[in-house]
């Protein structure tokens, strides 16, 4: 018997719970040679801003044990080029495309949300709040519950589409952040973005990354991500999307047990461009082998 792998995130219906994570899958097209996009639940685009952004100087990436640090600096084509050059491809794929975006003021966030709301090919919005608020001394929106709530409320007012808020793990109390975003109108929460880290070149006595610090991703962050998903899922009513170091179907299923309704695969797509599809298929096989009829029965089913 084929297990039912479908899940719902807000009004979004997914054929299975596996999505690709923002910034690790381009705009979808880059991977179409390696992944049957119609075998995954959804894909999330590279983070978009109002204006194109050039990003940081190099080196932008360095591998660390079991992970990698990146300081890309949110390089992206901007919303206008996205509509012109990238949206036509989204139309050709029968899989929901989720637009990830960010701004530097709540107004910018709202404007982007409103413009993305107008694009029929965009199935849902994922708002990245791990950005500095230029109006308030550069404090990162996602590290202050009031700041985060103001951004989410502004986006909520600008879109009827499913609004997913992607939380930063670089906070003392992730539950407080999650509740603030839920209270401001988020339909779902993505947990987690990268953890801030750094690498040093001893002989040169310099930081390896031009930006000095960068975001850690990959298997190294999985235990932290699992813990945060578990904490958040117990504290909110909206669905949680688990992200962080997922390399295999078993990794993904652990996130589901911890309370995630769906998962996103990030760095794994660099290592193995077919990872998201393989994980989706592996999850289904795992359920089938154990006679589990519905993936939804595993959400938050952690015992003890």
């Amino acid at each position: 018997m084929k297990p039912d792998m479908s899940v719902e995130i807000g009004s979004l219906k997914l054929r299975n719970p596996v999505m690709t994570a923002s910034g690790t899958f381009g705009y979808g097209e880059e991977f179409s040679q390696y992944v049957d996009l119609e075998k995954i639940g959804a894909f999330v685009t590279k983070g978009l801003s109002l204006k194109p952004r050039a990003g940081n100087p190099t080196p932008r990436i360095v591998e660390t044990p079991g992970g990698m640090l990146n300081a890309i600096g949110l390089q992206n084509v901007g919303i206008d080029a996205f509509i012109q050059k990238k949206v036509p491809f989204l139309r050709s794929v029968n899989t929901p495309a989720i637009a990830n975006f960010f701004g530097y003021t709540p107004d910018e966030y709202a404007e982007l949300a409103s413009r993305l709301d107008d694009i029929p090919e965009v199935a849902a919005l994922e708002v990245n709040i791990s950005c500095p608020n230029v109006k308030q001394g550069g404090i990162v929106f996602g590290t202050d519950p009031n700041c985060a709530a103001s951004v989410v409320a502004a986006c909520r007012a600008a879109t009827k589409k499913t609004l997913i808020v992607k939380l930063s793990p670089n906070v003392t109390d992730i539950v407080e952040m999650a509740q603030a975003c839920e209270g401001a109108g988020a339909d779902a929460l993505s947990v987690i973005n990268t953890l801030t880290g750094m690498a040093i070149d001893l002989e040169r006595r310099r930081p390896v990354l031009a930006n000095i610090t960068g975001g850690l991703s990959g298997p190294a962050i999985k235990p932290v991500a699992l813990r945060m998903v578990w904490q958040v899922a117990r504290a909110v009513k909206v669905p949680v999307i688990g992200i962080g170091g997922i390399m295999s179907a078993t990794d993904a299923l652990e996130f589901i047990l911890a309370g995630a309704t769906a998962v996103q695969v990030g760095t794994a797509s660099f290592v193995n461009p077919g990872a998201a599809q393989e994980i989706a298929e592996g999850m289904e096989q795992w359920l089938a082998a154990r006679g589990i009829a519905d993936i939804k029965s595993l959400i938050g089913a952690l015992e003890g």
């Binding site: 690790t24 990003g55 190099t58 932008r60 591998e63 660099f270 461009p273 077919g274």
Partner: protein, 273 residues
């Protein structure tokens, strides 16, 4: 294309430099000189990301025993510099690797009959062998190979066998001219009145010098760059380099893995880099 490759041979060709031959799908035979592959060194998570290597050669492998069928191969030439390349050098015949490729743009061959000056520093020779193999079909080819010492000047006999005229230079004088290979290149350009085109791959300092020579003498110059790569397919944006007009106000980043790794030197920014 993603494929599993079986190692056919892995040998140290000079201290610290290895040449690996592996099986490949027939499509690999169409790889363009200058393209590269991303190799997953092992299936564990350390090293996690793939390592990029230029395509050194492709062809049909004829096993030594009679009756065996020939089969397409891919070769890489690599220098052991760290964890991943160290692990590669420990692999043996029949071990399996996961490979993505061919990726990126290749060299533009230019008009037939025109003199081709190919310049390589150390392991930068890697993508130039397949290039020379292509170019000798219709053009006179000269190779300018440089390195710190004679151990860093690789595979010269292979180039000579193709009919390429080879010039070498080492910083310690242990092989060929003593000094930088760019000086030898300038000598040739002086002799021919700046004819032909240049294709170069090697350390950044050498490429910068070659780009300056090409610019000063109005000789078309292509360079193959490196960048720190996580994906090799334009998704991570880790590998970028700066276009000629790049500035803090008007940033112009080019993706090395998809727009390159081969660029016309004139489209890139060299000063300050």
């Amino acid at each position: 294309m993603q494929f599993k490759a079986m190692i056919l041979d892995n040998a140290e060709v000079s201290p610290g430099y290895w040449r690996m031959r592996m099986t490949a799908p027939a499509e690999m035979l169409a790889a363009k000189p200058g393209q590269f592959v991303m190799v997953r060194v092992n299936p564990s998570i350390d090293p996690l990301i793939r390592r990029p290597f230029g395509v050194f050669d492709v062809g049909m492998h004829q096993p030594a025993y009679t009756g065996a069928v020939a089969q397409p191969y891919l070769e890489i030439l690599y220098r052991v510099v760290g964890k991943g390349t160290g692990m590669l050098s420990d692999l043996h015949e029949n071990d399996i690797l996961d490979v993505l490729g061919p990726l990126g743009s290749g060299f533009d061959n230019g008009p037939a009959g025109e003199e081709k000056l190919i310049v390589g520093g150390g392991v930068g020779l890697a993508p130039l062998y397949l290039l020379a193999k292509e170019l000798v079909k219709d053009s006179p080819v000269r190779l300018f190979a440089g390195g710190r010492s004679k151990d860093d000047v690789l595979c010269i006999t292979e180039f000579e066998r193709l009919g390429v005229e080879c010039y070498t230079a080492t910083e310690d004088g242990s092989l060929g001219e003593c000094g930088l290979v760019t000086k030898v290149l300038e000598g040739r350009l002086d002799a021919t009145g700046n004819k032909g085109q240049i294709c170069a791959c090697g350390p950044h300092g050498m490429l910068k010098a070659v780009a300056a020579i090409g610019a000063k003498r109005s000789v078309k110059t292509q360079v193959s760059l490196e960048g720190y790569m996580a994906c090799g397919m334009g998704a991570c944006l880790g590998c970028v380099c700066q276009g000629a007009e790049h500035s803090a106000e008007n940033p112009d980043y080019r993706c090395v893995c998809t727009e390159g790794p081969v660029f016309e030197a004139a489209v890139l920014k060299w000063e300050g880099n």
